[in-house]
């Protein structure tokens, strides 16, 4: 049952793509996803921190501890 393949596929093709990572606190991080592990720990490049939609900080690289993550969001790839 549980269609894990969809998730594994998503995780295998997400590297190098621009993402929005939302934390449970409501803070958003926008950046390029460098890598991800099974705990949802995330390494982001060119990271921008948004609090209430306002840019608060920029980090070259950032490690985000997975327990704080609500979701990782991507844009659909249109026309390859």
């Amino acid at each position: 049952m549980s269609r894990k393949e969809a998730l594994t596929h998503f995780m295998s093709q997400i590297h190098g793509r621009p993402v929005v990572v939302k934390l449970n606190s409501g803070v958003d991080y926008r950046g390029v996803l460098a890598c991800l592990d099974g705990y949802m720990n995330i390494a982001l490049e060119q990271t921008e921190e948004y609090v209430n939609g306002q840019l608060k900080n920029k980090y070259g690289d950032a490690f985000i501890r997975g327990n704080n993550v609500l979701y990782i969001s991507t844009q659909k790839r249109r026309g390859g």
Binding site: S2, R3, K4, E5, A6, F10, Q75
Partner: protein, 90 residues
Amino acid sequence: MTTSLSANPSTLLPLELVDKCIGSRIHIVMKNDKEIVGTLLGFDDFVNMLLEDVTEYEATPEGRRITKLDQIFLNGNNITMLVPGGDIPE
């Protein structure tokens, strides 16, 4: 993957219900009063979920905030309830 029914008295395992939702709209209630509606593409044993065409509903002091997202990988850690069907909450 086979499911051992002898170990579990209920005929439908909870996650089988979730499995039936794959490909259709699903309404997710989070622990912190956030709600998410989207099309379920897949999930794993932790009920981490991959969702498409997502709408996120957040309660803020200024009122309900709605965010549209293409595709999200949702952490299963903070899910409280899953409701098959994608009715807009309230």
